[in-house]
Every structure is written in C-alpha cells, then in structure tokens.
Symmetry: C2
Subunit: 332 residues, 2 copies
Amino acid sequence: MRHVAALAGVGIKTVSRVMNEEPGVSESTREKVLLASKQLNYELDVTAGSLRRSSRRTQTVGLLLPSVSNPFSAEIHRAMEDALSLKGVAVFAASLDDEPEREEAMVRAFLGRRVDGMVLTPIASNQAHVIPEHSRDLPVVFIDREPAGLTADAVVTDNAVGGAKAARHLFDVGHRKIAYLGDRTDIQTARERRRGFIDALGELGVSTASVPVRENLHDVESARLAAVEILTSSDPPTALFSSQNLVTFGCMRALRELGLSHTVALVGFDDFTLSDMMDPGVTVIAQHPEKIGALAAERLMARIEGDIQPPKTYIIETTLIIRGSGEIRPAS
Amino acid sequence: MRHVAALAGVGIKTVSRVMNEEPGVSESTREKVLLASKQLNYELDVTAGSLRRSSRRTQTVGLLLPSVSNPFSAEIHRAMEDALSLKGVAVFAASLDDEPEREEAMVRAFLGRRVDGMVLTPIASNQAHVIPEHSRDLPVVFIDREPAGLTADAVVTDNAVGGAKAARHLFDVGHRKIAYLGDRTDIQTARERRRGFIDALGELGVSTASVPVRENLHDVESARLAAVEILTSSDPPTALFSSQNLVTFGCMRALRELGLSHTVALVGFDDFTLSDMMDPGVTVIAQHPEKIGALAAERLMARIEGDIQPPKTYIIETTLIIRGSGEIRPAS
DNA sequence: TTGAAAGCGCTAACAC
DNA sequence: GTGTTAGCGCTTTCAA
C-alpha cells in the first residue's frame, strides 16, 4: 500500500480509501491511485485490514461437513458459496468423517483463522466445546442435525414428516406390510425418519409391532444382506422403506438379485443421481440440500451482521418424487 | 496473547514461543502458559502472525474448481484436504461454473486473502492473468487441463490414452463400427479423448473416415438425441464411446428407449456412482480424481516450500473398468 | 531462558 | 479532500 501511495504521489490513507471504495476522494486522485495499483498489481490485504478494523471481520466463514465429497454435503457447500461469494465472504471447508475429534480439531483450526462464523454439521454427541466461542459471540449455525449441549440456530430436514410421507404413500398404493431398513440408531436423523414412518403407519391403522425393522445398516453390503434376509423370510413385506442412500442401494441390489424389482415396492429417503435411470425408477423422499445451504448462509450472515433474535431451528420440508419403484402394488 | 502473558506472569514473547512450540522455554513456564491459554480459551491468530513472519505464509491455499458440487471436483477437493490438513494448511474453494470472469475474480479474491498458493482448473482460454502473480513467486498448480499463456506445474488425466483404451477394448470385443459421442470441441480434454480414440482405431485398421462422430454434446438431452439419431440411421454402429458422464447418461437413455441396451455396446469416459447398478453395468474408462488431488497438493506444497525445479506436467493414467455394457459383442 | 521494542499491512481517529 | 499517527496480534531482532 505504501508503494502504491508513493507511486500515485498520495498518502497511504488515500489509497486505503480508494481500495475500500470509501467516499471523500476526488475523482482525479482516485484515478491516480487506481492506475498505480494496477501497475503494481496491488491487491488489498483483507486479513491485515481485519486486524485493525473495528468490526474485526475477516470476511471468512468455516464450514464443517461430513465430507466435502459427499454429494449431499457438496450441494450444501455450493449453495452456501453462491450466497456468500456475493457478499465477498470466502469459505473454509473441512471434512469430519464422523469423527468427534476431527470436529473439535477443525473448529479450533478455524478459530485460529479468525473466521467470522461457522456452519457445523455436528458429529460429537455434544457440542459443548463450541460453547465458549459461541458465548463469546461467534455465530454458529448447525445443519442437518440439531446441536446438543447448547442452543443455536439450526437448519434441518423434516425427517419425521419425510418418513411419514413414505409410509402414507406406500399405504395409499395398497401396502400394509412395509419393512423399514435404517441407519445407525445413534444418528438422530435416522431415528427421526424411523419414528415418523412408524407413527404414520400406526395412525393409518397398521399394527406397528408387526412392522419389520432392520437398523444399524451403514453401507451397501450390510443393507443388501438385511434386505435379502427380510425378503426371503416366511412372511415377507410387500414394500421397503430405506432411510438413506447407501441403504437404498443395498435394497436395490437385493431386489434385483431376487428378481423382485418389479414386485416389491421401494421408497428411499434422500434423492440421488440416476435414480430415474434405474429399472424401475426409484421413488424417493427428496431432501433439499440447496435450500439448507442457502438458509444456513443467510442465517449465519444475519448473525454476523448483528441479528440477536433468539436461536431458532429452521425446518426444511421433503418432497416425494414418484418414479416407479414406490408405485408397485402389492401382489394379492 | 497479551492477556495470556499477563495471566501466566510472563512476557508476550514467551507465550509466542509456547504456542508455536519453539524450543528454549523451561518446562515450568511452558505449563504456566498452557494453563493460562486454556483458561482464556486462547487460540493463536495464524493470519496475524503471517504478517510479520519472515516466510509470510498464511497456511492457506486456494482451490478453483468447475464446481464444488461436481463429483469429480469434489473428490479432488477431498484428496487435497486430506493431504493439506495434515500440514495445518486450510483450503479456500471456489466454483467457477465455466465462466472465465469468475476465474479471474476468484483468483483476485484469493490473492486478497494472501493464499500461499493456488490449484486452478483453468476455464479461460488463457491464464495470462495469473502471470504477474506466478512470476512474483506465487505457486500455482493446474489440474485437469494444462494452462495456456504460461508454464506451470499441471496434473492431468491421460485423456488420449484413455480414449485409445476404449477403442482397443471395443475392437477386441469384435466391434468395427464404433461411434464417438463427445463434449464441446473447445474443451481440450474432450478433443484429446477423441484424438486418442480415433487414432487408436486407425492403428487397428479401421477406416477413421467412417467413424460416426457427434460432438458438442454438453448435457444428457442433447446426447440422447444424438445417440438416437446415430442408432436409427441406415448403417448404425454396433458400439458407442461417450466422452463424459452426461453424454454417457444420454447414451444409456437412448439405448434403453430403443431396446438396445443389451445389443449395442457402450463404454463411457469417467466413472460414476451406480454404474454397476445399471442394466447392464456400464463399462468405463475411469479417471482418478483422488490421485489428481493428492499429487496437486503435494506439488503445490513442494513449490511453497521452495522447490524450484522446472515446471512439469504430471499425467495420471486411466483404468478400464469392465462391467458388462462394453463387453456386448456385435450381432452377426 | 526470557523479554522489550520495532514493525508486518492495514484502518481508526483526528488534524489539516 | 487529504495525510499523520497509533495500534490491531503477532514475529523478529537483539539485549539481558
């Protein structure tokens, strides 16, 4: 900045004014400064400025995801980037891999970079470790799951209603015996999906005790095995509801293997690429990661800009997408 | 840091030494400082430190991708993160959406944050805009495509050899009339894939002039239409080679529509999720984004740490993955 | 082994 | 409309 000032023949503060587009600079000096900065290829140092700036803002936020390469997370990331880059805010992203230690380590890493706020997918059983920061006024917005151990804004999918939608849809098609294949029961979202699904069946008059349930399925292979087992049991269900993508893939494999793809109905929670290219197309309860990301970004920026309304959980609805697999009627 | 020093009853420099794990501090004072920093929940400010540090490093790098939500890019991102987080380096990612103006804008945004280096997927026809920075010693590594207008490290897929592998595989299965369906011809990688494919066919004795070619297909629908047109022509090919995912999806749609999924062979360039769940499974020439990301991170760090060997292009080989669609034999 | 002083690039406060 | 000075949190240099 000193060099630019020297070259333009002005004071350093004038350069600062021009680079920050502050008013009170004559057009002619503005042009001199701009020319000099062009010549020297000068770019304002955002972080150095934040040191002295009264707001102390670094125009940077942290985003903690299960993995930047997970499609659901990546959509959220993209939506946030779109909202934030407009405001000149850059995003640090980190992958947590379901490891609580990484959650804490990455929070610390971002704190060390003085982010203005964070959007966090909670992994640890408890987010008490961010309490000191949060109470020190560092804005934190949680996504996908609500935090435990502190109150803060959260943006989550309506998992229970999503599960209920699946139940009602399959019921409407005529199914009465529908199996639930679910993820690890220590995952809050999985429990919610199951609860919504089972409760809805109960309300529809199905005996909830007789619903076949297989849980703690966390990959394609375990889901496939569970589905095969259920489908080859003595009184098999006429439809399956799977609580997440990998489980859905396992169910698809099992159905294909057993030649039941067009006989047993399937509804999956969470949409995926090529779901419409399968045979039959896979009916899903779609989440809306782009909405989650956009809203999380909006809330975070509002907090950073001083919004002090009480913390709130924002709930994003799911959408039933009909593609064929969920519309297969029971034999009989 | 002043507060920690006061609480620990030491000088500010001693706190700095402890936080940076510098030698020359007695164990007892070290513990006093650590305790005080714990109590005050203090975290060293990485960026403020970089201001005065002789290396001027911010422990931050920029990553410019087509889109953080594109699966290929997301894998690269993840691989880079894995390599860099070990070294305490954080990653800013940005999506360029094939827009040259965004490429330049994001480069500037990252420069303003004083990144130690950048990994860039070039979009613009020419990367001359990073020359001033690059010649000022800012390390830049290009991925996926080689840069134009300057020489720098690059990590790219061996597109030509990948195309040739597809040609040879289909030839070996017995095909002599194989169509090429490709992306926009202004994309370097697409041209390379085509060149490798056509040249290999020529070497195998196939008249290259008679190879059906459809290019400038950039989405599923245009690819589907082109495939339908080719497959319903008077002298249709017995196999298809598609140059990227969306084109592959379009071909799959067309084959399904025409009832040719098990009659006409298909090899796609670039692997995708669920390729093994299709009917038939889709044979592909797989790229290795995780290798590209890991190598790009390694080269970038080497440059940042002072490596001054001449710039080099690193080539990552592809892998043929056999899943069924590419092994369908020609009729007759 | 420890600390005081200067200064990194910038903005705030205030003077001109 | 413009410039000077102090100081943000830190590391460097150098003295104790």
